[in-house]
C-alpha cells in the first residue's frame, strides 16, 4: 500500500533525507521518502500496521526536526 501524507515545518533538506532514511528502517515499512519541497511523506507500508507505523514515523520526524510533523 502506498500513501501520501502532508507534513509541515520541514525546514531543512538534509533533515528530510534523514527522516526518510529512519522511517525506512521502521518495521513494516517497505519504502519511504520525504519530499522537502512539497512537504510530503510518501509511505509504502503494510496496511495492517499503518497506525503503529505512523505513530513511530511521527516520533522520528519530531526527533530529527523539532518543528516538523506529519499532518494526520
Amino acid at each position: 500500500m502506498k500513501k501520501k501524507f502532508a507534513m509541515e515545518g520541514v525546514d531543512c533538506a538534509v533533515c528530510a533525507e534523514r527522516m526518510a532514511e529512519q522511517i525506512c528502517k521502521l518495521p513494516g515499512v517497505e519504502n519511504a521518502s520525504v519530499n522537502f519541497l512539497t512537504q510530503k511523506l510518501i509511505l509504502e507500508a503494510e496496511e495492517a500496521q499503518l497506525e503503529e507505523i505512523l505513530a513511530a514515523a511521527q516520533k522520528v520526524v519530531g526527533r530529527v526536526d523539532k518543528g516538523a510533523r506529519i499532518l494526520l
Binding site: 501520501k4 515545518g9 525546514d11 531543512c12 533538506a13 538534509v14 533525507e17 534523514r18 521518502s33 519530499n35 522537502f36 519541497l37 512539497t38 512537504q39 510530503k40 510518501i42 526527533r63 530529527v64 523539532k66 518543528g67
Partner: protein
C-alpha cells in the same frame, strides 16, 4: 513569514542591537578595564540569545548519534572562536548564520507557494445534482453516473459528458492553450478546466481518482521521485561532503599546529572550514530547479514524468516522428480543389450534392469542405458504384463523382494530378468539371515546430511511417525532414529506431514522438518517448515519458528550451556553490579568508542559489 520565522527575526534584531552597543563600547575603550572574564560574559549574552536553538538542535543530533550536523559544527566553530578570544567574531558569525538561515527559510517558503500555485488545478468541491436539489460534495464522494452542475466560473471537478447547456471551457491549466473550447451536449469534458460562461449539467464518467486532474497531479508530484542524474549525484555528494570538510578542519587544526606550535592561528583557520560544512545550497537549489522546470513545462501543456526525462530532453539530438496522427491529423481533408471551367465553390457544391447520401470517408471530407449541407431533395436518381464513385441527378444535370475508372467509363480522360493523396474527379453532363484532392492533412504548426526544433539545436528530424513511400515522402518534403522511412510494419519501426540508436553518440539523446496508442514498443525503446496526449487518453499517458497534452507539435521546441534552461540553471548553481565554497576553503587554509567570508560561502551562497533556481518557477 511563519510564526517561527518572525520569532527568529525578533531575536536577530535584539541580538544585533545588543551586539552593536557592545562593539561601540569596545571601540571607544570603555570595556578595557573590565578584564577578560567580564568581557567574555558581556559578549556571551547576545551569543546565547542568538545561538540557543542551534545548541538545542546540536544536542538532539548528538543523542541520535549524528556527528556531521551543521548545527553542531557551527557551534564548535563559534565556541572555538570564544576560546581563542575572538568574542566579537563568534557573535557575528552566529548572527549572520541565523540571518542567512532566515533568508533561506523565506526563499524556500516562497518557492513552496509557487509550487502549490502550480498544483491549483484541484477542484475543491462538486455540485451534486439530485432531482432539483444541489448539494456541495467532496469530488471524492461523487460516483460514476452521478449528475453534477457546473456553474460559470467554476472548475470542472470530474471528467464527464455534457447533458445540457453550452459553454466555453478554459483549458489553459491543463494544456497551456489559451483559446477557450466550445462544449455542447454530448461532448466529453475533462476535470481541471474552468467553465467560462454558461451553466452545464454533466454526467460523471470517471471517479475522481481516475479523472484527468488526479492523474496529472500525481504525475507532477511523483516526478520528483524519478531523479535526474545530476540530482542523484548531488544527493550522493552531500552525504560525503560534510564528513570530508570536517575531516579537513580537523587536519588543519592539528597538523600545522603541532609543526608550528601556533594553535590559535590554525584553530581559527579550521573554524572557517566548519562554517562551510553544510551542502544546503546544493541539496535545496538543485531539486528546486528541476521542480521548476517540470512545473514550467506543465503550464505549457507538457507533462514531464521525471527530472531524468527533463535532463534527457535538454540533450536531444535526433527526433523521430510517427507520421499518421502525429505529423498529420490522421483524418482526411480536402486539400486542393482544381476546377476546370467553373469556380472552386461550384465544383465543391456539385460534388457535395452528389455525395450527400454517402457515408464514405471521401464523401464526408467533401461535405465538410463544402460547409453548408446541400439540400437533399435537390438530388435524385442516386447510384453508388463501389470502386468507382457516385452518379446522381441534381438541378436537372447529371453529375458523376469518382475516380479515373468512372471517368473512363463515361468516356472522359481526366488530366493527371500529382499528389500523395486521393483524387476525385467530377463530370457534369459528360463534361469534365475538375478534380478534388483529399489528403491526410499535416497538422497546423508542424513545419513551424520542425524549424523551431532545428533552431533549438535538434540536429536530425526523421519520420517513420507505415504508409506508401510516395505519400510519406510528400509529407517529409513539405516539412523539410532529414529522412523518411516508409512502408514499415510496427515491428520494423522498432528496428529502425534501434539502428539509429546504435549510430548516435553516447551523450546524444534520441526522442520518439508518437500518438501513444500503437507506438508503445517504439516509445519505450527510444531514449525519450513523447506521446501526443489528446487530453485524457490513458494509453498515451501511460506509455510515454513526456506527454503533449494538446497535440500541438510546437510544444516540442518549447519543451527543449525549458529543459535547456533548467539544466543551465542547475549547472550554474552547482558550479557557483561548489566554486565559492572551495575558494573560501582554499583562502581559509592559506590564511586569507575570515569567518565572514565563510558565512557568506555557507548561507549567502545558499540564498543566491535558491533565488537562481526560483527563476524556473517564474517561467511563464
Amino acid at each position: 513569514m511563519t510564526k517561527r520565522q518572525k520569532q527568529t527575526l525578533a531575536r536577530i534584531l535584539v541580538t544585533a542591537g545588543l551586539f552593536a552597543a557592545l562593539l561601540i563600547l569596545e571601540k571607544t575603550g570603555r570595556l578595557a578595564g573590565l578584564g577578560r572574564w567580564l568581557t567574555l560574559l558581556l559578549f556571551f549574552i547576545p551569543y546565547a540569545l542568538i545561538a540557543y536553538d542551534v545548541l538545542f538542535a546540536a544536542v538532539r543530533r548528538i543523542r541520535q548519534g549524528i556527528v556531521f550536523d551543521e548545527n553542531l559544527l557551527m557551534l564548535i566553530a563559534t565556541v572555538a572562536a570564544f576560546c581563542i578570544g575572538e568574542y566579537a567574531e563568534a557573535v557575528s558569525v552566529m548572527l549572520f548564520y541565523q540571518i542567512g538561515e532566515l533568508f533561506q527559510g523565506v526563499a524556500v517558503g516562497r518557492s513552496r507557494r509557487s509550487i502549490s500555485a502550480l498544483m491549483e488545478i484541484v477542484p475543491a468541491y462538486a455540485n451534486l445534482l439530485e432531482g432539483e436539489t444541489v448539494t456541495q460534495t467532496d469530488p471524492d464522494d461523487v460516483e460514476v453516473g452521478d449528475v453534477i452542475l457546473i456553474r460559470a466560473g467554476e472548475r470542472v471537478p470530474l471528467d464527464g459528458e455534457v447533458l445540457t447547456g453550452t459553454s466555453m471551457l478554459d483549458t489553459a491549466a491543463l494544456t497551456g492553450e489559451s483559446v477557450p473550447r466550445r462544449v455542447a451536449p454530448g461532448d466529453a469534458i475533462v476535470s481541471g478546466c474552468i467553465n467560462d460562461s454558461g451553466a452545464l449539467t454533466v454526467r460523471v464518467t470517471k471517479s475522481f481518482e481516475d479523472s484527468a486532474v488526479s492523474k496529472i497531479l500525481e504525475l507532477v508530484e511523483n516526478a520528483s521521485s524519478k531523479k535526474a542524474k545530476t540530482e542523484q549525484f548531488i544527493t550522493r555528494f552531500a552525504k560525503i561532503y560534510t564528513p570530508a570538510v570536517t575531516l579537513c578542519a580537523l587536519l588543519i587544526a592539528v597538523i600545522p599546529s603541532l609543526l608550528t606550535g601556533n594553535w590559535r592561528e590554525w584553530l581559527e583557520r579550521a573554524c572557517i572550514f566548519l562554517v562551510i560544512s553544510c551542502p544546503c545550497a546544493l541539496v535545496i537549489s538543485v531539486p528546486l530547479g528541476f521542480f521548476g522546470g517540470i512545473g514550467a513545462a506543465s503550464r505549457r501543456g507538457v507533462l514531464v514524468k521525471g527530472g531524468n526525462y527533463l535532463e534527457a530532453a535538454a540533450s536531444i539530438s535526433t527526433l523521430v516522428f510517427d507520421k499518421t496522427g502525429t505529423l498529420t491529423r490522421g483524418e482526411f481533408r480536402v486539400t486542393r480543389v482544381l476546377p476546370a471551367g467553373c469556380d472552386e465553390a461550384t465544383l465543391l457544391r456539385l460534388a457535395a450534392l452528389a455525395e450527400s447520401g454517402s457515408d464514405h470517408p471521401v464523401a464526408r471530407s467533401i461535405l465538410a469542405a463544402c460547409g453548408e449541407a446541400p439540400q437533399a431533395q435537390a438530388v435524385a436518381d442516386l447510384t453508388e458504384t463501389p470502386g468507382e464513385g457516385v452518379e446522381a441527378v441534381a438541378d436537372g444535370r447529371r453529375i458523376a463523382v469518382g475516380n479515373a475508372r468512372l471517368m473512363a467509363r463515361l468516356g472522359i480522360t481526366p488530366p493527371a494530378v500529382k499528389t500523395a493523396g486521393t483524387v476525385v474527379f467530377l463530370a457534369e453532363d459528360g463534361q469534365y468539371r475538375g478534380a478534388i484532392v483529399i489528403e491526410d492533412a499535416i497538422r497546423d504548426g508542424a513545419a513551424e515546430a520542425i524549424a523551431a526544433l532545428r533552431e533549438a539545436g535538434v540536429r536530425q528530424c526523421v519520420m517513420l511511417s507505415g504508409d506508401r513511400q510516395t505519400a510519406a515522402q510528400a509529407v517529409g518534403d513539405r516539412l523539410g525532414l532529414d529522412a523518411v522511412h516508409a512502408e514499415l510494419l510496427p515491428a520494423e519501426k522498432v528496428g529502425c529506431v534501434e539502428a539509429m540508436l546504435a549510430e548516435k553518440g553516447p551523450k546524444e539523446i534520441l526522442g520518439y514522438v508518437g500518438d501513444g496508442i500503437n507506438d508503445a514498443p517504439v516509445l519505450t525503446r527510444a531514449d525519450l518517448g513523447f506521446a501526443m496526449g489528446s487530453l485524457g487518453s490513458d494509453a498515451a499517458i501511460e506509455a510515454a515519458d513526456i506527454v503533449i497534452m494538446d497535440d500541438d507539435l510546437r510544444r516540442l521546441p518549447t519543451l527543449v528550451r525549458i529543459a535547456r534552461k533548467t539544466m543551465r540553471i542547475v549547472r550554474e548553481n552547482i558550479w557557483f556553490a561548489l566554486g565559492i565554497k572551495l575558494l573560501v576553503m582554499l583562502l581559509g587554509a592559506l590564511g586569507f579568508a575570515n569567518m565572514w567570508m565563510a558565512v557568506f560561502a555557507d548561507v549567502g551562497v545558499s540564498v543566491l542559489a535558491i533565488l537562481n533556481a526560483m527563476r524556473m518557477l517564474r517561467v511563464k
